[in-house]
Amino acid sequence: MSGTEPAHRQLGMTDTEYESVVDILGRPPMPAELAMYSVMWSEHCSYKSSRAWLSRFPTEAPWVVVGPGENAGVVDLGDGWLAALRIESHNHPSFVEPYQGAATGVGGILRDVFTMGARPIAVWDPLRFGPLSVARNRYLLSGVVSGIAGYGNAVGVPTLGGEVEFADCYSANPLINVMALGLLKREQLVLRAASGDGNVAVLLGSATGRDGIGGASILASASFDEDSGTKRPSVQVGDPFEEKRLIEACLELYEKGLVVGIQDLGAAGISCATSESAAGGGMGMDVDLDAVHLREHDMTPGEILMSESQERMLAIVRPEDLDDVLALAEKWEIAASAIGHVNPSKQLRVFHQGELVADVPAASLSDDAPLYRRPAERPDYLDHVWKVDEPLPAGIDLGETLLLLLDDPALADASWIYEQYDHQLFLNTVIGPGSDGTLMRIKGTRKGLAVSTDGNALLCYLDPRRGSARLVYEAALNVAVTGARPFAVVDNLNFGNPEKPGVMWQFLETVEGMAEACEVLGVPVIGGNVSFYNETDGVDVYPSPVVGMLGFCDPMPEDPPRLDRAEAGMDVWLVGPEDPDDFAAGAYNRVVLGHRRGRPAAPDPGTAVTVVDAAASLAFTVPVLHDVSSGGLAVALAEICINSDIGIEIDNGEWQYLLSESPHRFVAVLPAGRQPDVHNVPVRRIGTMGGDHIDFGRHGSVTVAEAAAAWHDALRSRLG
C-alpha cells in the first residue's frame, strides 16, 4: 500500500463513503472513528451491494421466532424447543491460510449460534476447490479439512456433513462455507440488544491482539491478486479450547439469567459488537479501551477496536450481577473485563488513556452504511454455453461410464473428509454424513431434525435462476427422504465482483430463483450470508449459492430409510417425472464428454411439492430412499448397491434415462410385491436387487466390488 494514499482509501473506503462519514459527524473523523466506519461499512459487514435485494426472500412463517438480521435464525419445534441456524463463509482467509482460515470459520459460526442462547449441536461444511490434479488445491483441501477437524473436534461440536465440488474457477479462490445448528429451550433465547441505562458491557474470552486487523475490509471485501500471500497477518488464529470454555461459560450465564443481551465479536471486533449492541437496544454506550484485556500493550485505539481476535463475546449485564458474572468467568477460566456502560445517549463514545477517541451515533455504523443498487446485465457467455453442437452418442457402455463417474472426486465417497470429523458427539446422529440428508434426534422427544446443504455451481453458472431454484428443491428432497418436511432455509451466496454487471445479474437471478422455490415450498429463509469479491486476477468464481435446508419431523421415523438396507429380491422404484435430455451441468458432460455447456431444464414447482411430500411420507415405511441428483439414476443406484453390498438388475430402457439429471426424482427400494404408496406422482419399477453386478442389460454391467473400489478410492488415491 502506498503511504501517499489518503487513510480512508488504505482502509478500503471510497471517497464518497468518506464524505458520508464527514456528513454524519459534521467533521472529519478521528483515526479510530475512520477505522470503525471502514470496517462496519465494508461489503462483508454492511451487505451494501446486496441488502437492497435480500428482502425478496420470504422470511415469515408461524414457526419463525427470529428471522434474518440477528446472529442466527430461530424456529419453533414445539413443546418449548427451538432450533437456531446460521451459515457463513470464510473463503478468503482459507485461501491465504487454509488451516486457520477454516478453523476460525467454525469458531465464528459457533459463536453466532450460542450467542442466541443455543447449545451448538452440529456443523456442516460445504467446500469448493480447484481440481485435485493441482498440488496447491490438494494442499488447500487437506489444510481446510484439518482446520475444520482440528477446531470442531476439539471444541466439542460434531461436524455432520457438507459437500464438496471442484472447478477451475476455485483454484485461486476456494469457497469454505460453514453452517451451524443449535438447540435451545424457549426461555434461554437471548438477543443482542443492550437495554437498561447503567448496565455493564463485559468483554469475555481471549485477550485482544493484533491478529485479524482488517479481516473484514481487506480480506473479505476485496478481490485477490498475486500479492495475496502478504495478507496472511489479516487471518485470525483460533483457539478451540478457549471457545469450548466460552461456550460452557455463556450457557451457564444464560441458565442463571445473568445476561440481558449478548453479542459475539467477529468481523470488526469491538467496534461492531459495541455499536450493534447499543443500536439494537436504542441506547448509547461509553467504552473504555484501557479496560480491554490486551495481548500486546502498545496497540492503538484503532487497532483495539478493529482487532478480530477470536473467541470473544460482549455480554450486557446488570450492575448488581457483575460480581456473579466475573465469578462464573473465573470458574470456567476465561478472562472477563467490564469495558463499557450502557446509557441513553445513542452515542458510542470510546475512551483511550483518558482521551475521547471516538464519538459517533451508534446506529450510524450499521443503519447509515452505504446502499448500492449496482447495475446488472445479462452476461454474454450464456449465449455461448447454451449451444451444444455435439449430439450424445447413440449407445454407450454404462458399466465403463459408471466407473468413470464414481471416480470423480465430486461424486465419490467423501469419507476421506468426514472420517476426520467427529460426527457422533452428543448422541443425536441417526443418519450421519454420506447420505442425502443428516438426521438427528432430539433426546427425550420423538422429534427429528434433518439437514442438507446443497450447491451445484455449474448448474447456476449455466442458468442462475433455474439452477438456484433447483438447489432449493433438491435440498428439500434430501431432507424429505429422511422423513422430515422442509422447515427453514439459510443461504450462502458466494459470488464474484459485484461491480461487474454480469456478476450482479447472476446474483439477482439467483435471489429470484431461490426466493420463488422457497415460496413454492412454503419455507421461510431465516438467515444468510453474501460473499462477494470471490475474484482473483479478474476471474470470478461461478455463481455459487449454497442452500442450507433444515427439515423437521415429529414424530421421526422409528426406522428411517438408509442406503445400506437394500436386500436381494427387493424391487427398485423410481418416483417422480423423467426427462432423458437434461444433461446440461450433468456429470456425464463434465466427466466423460469434458464440456460444461447446455441449458439446464426448468424446475417444475408443482411437481417439486408433490415429490417432496411423497418422499417424506414414504420414509416411514420404506427401507431405502435416495435422491437422484449428480450422476443421475446410474450413480444413485450404484450408491445403494455399494452401501448395501448387493447387485441390481436394471430393466432395459434408453441409456439416457440413467444419466440425465432432471430434478424431482428419488429411488425407493421396497420388499417384492409392495408398490410405493404415492399419489399424483409418476412411479415406475426400474429393477430388482440381487446378484453381485450393477447390471444395465444391453448397456453393459460392472461388479459391485469394482464400483465400490472406484468410489472408495477416488479421494483417497488423490489425497493420500
Binding site: 473436534n153 466439542g156 479450547f241 469450548k244 470456567w332 476426520q420 458427539l425 452428543f426 448422541l427 433426546k443
Partner: protein
C-alpha cells in the same frame, strides 16, 4: 449407584457418558476438575474430549488437575475407574496405566466404527463380555496409537491385561486390520487389579440401535456390574 463423571475444561463427552450410564440405571454426576474429593462415589469415569485443550500433550496438564489426587486414591482403593479416549490418555499420563497414546499412524483424525475383539474378561470393563466376542464401536481420536516400553508390553500381554484389540469383522487382528498403528493392535488395557481400565473407542456412542450399534452396552454393563460388587481383583 453414584458415578462421578469428571469434567476438565475441554472435556466434551461428559453429557454422553452421563446419558448412557443413566440409561443403564445408575446415577451419574458431573464433577468439576477442581474438586478434591470423590467421597461416596461407587465408580469414576474420565470421559473423552480435549482436557485443557490437549495442549502440551494429551493428558499432560489434566493429570495435575486437583481432582486427580482423589481419582488416584480411589484407583488404589479398588473403586472402578474407567477412562474413555481422552480419559485413557489421562490415566496413562497419571501413571495409573502404563504406556502412552501417540498420533495415529496416518496422522489423521479417525472417526468411524471399528471392530474390536474381547481379549480378557478380567477387568471392570469386560467382565460380562466373553473372550473372542467381536464388538463394533466408534473410534474418534487423533492420538489413539498405543505405545509402551517392551517390558510393560510383555507384562500387559502376559498378565492378560489387554482387554480389547482392533480387528476385522471376523476377529482377525493384524496390521491390515489396525486402524491407527496401535502396538499389538491394542485398543484397551487394565491395571493389574483390573479396577482401572481404559479404551480408545467410545462405548457410550453404541448403546442404541437407532444410532447404529448396541455393542457398547456389554462394556458399560460390566462397569455398572463392577460398581455393584466388590471391586475386581487380579
Amino acid at each position: 449407584m453414584r458415578v462421578a463423571v469428571v469434567v476438565f475444561p475441554g472435556t466434551n463427552c461428559e453429557h454422553d457418558v452421563a446419558y448412557a450410564l443413566g440409561e443403564l440405571g445408575t446415577s451419574p454426576e458431573l464433577v468439576w476438575h477442581r474438586e478434591t474429593a470423590l467421597d461416596g462415589f461407587d465408580g469414576v469415569v474420565l470421559p473423552g474430549g480435549f482436557a485443557h485443550g490437549d495442549y502440551l500433550r494429551t493428558g499432560a496438564i489434566a493429570r495435575f488437575s486437583p481432582v486427580m489426587t482423589a481419582v488416584e486414591r480411589h484407583a488404589v482403593e479398588g473403586t472402578p475407574v474407567l477412562g474413555i479416549c481422552n480419559g485413557f490418555q489421562i490415566l496413562c499420563e497419571a501413571g495409573l496405566l502404563p504406556g502412552a497414546l501417540v498420533a495415529n499412524r496416518d496422522l489423521k483424525f479417525i472417526c468411524r466404527p471399528v471392530p474390536l475383539r474381547i481379549e480378557s474378561t478380567n477387568s471392570i470393563l469386560t467382565r460380562t463380555a466373553r473372550v473372542g466376542q467381536v464388538l463394533r464401536l466408534p473410534l474418534n481420536s487423533y492420538e489413539g496409537n498405543y505405545i509402551a516400553p517392551a517390558k510393560d508390553l510383555e507384562r500387559l500381554e502376559a498378565q492378560g491385561r489387554v482387554m480389547l484389540r482392533y480387528c476385522d469383522a471376523a476377529g482377525v487382528a493384524d496390521q491390515s486390520t489396525n486402524p491407527n498403528g496401535s502396538t499389538n493392535s491394542i485398543a484397551g488395557i487394565a491395571n493389574t487389579a483390573g479396577n482401572v481400565a481404559a479404551l480408545m473407542p467410545h462405548p457410550e456412542r453404541a448403546i442404541e440401535g437407532l444410532l447404529g450399534s448396541t455393542d457398547g452396552r456389554v462394556l458399560l454393563e460390566s462397569f455398572v456390574a463392577s460398581m455393584a460388587r466388590e471391586p475386581a481383583r487380579a
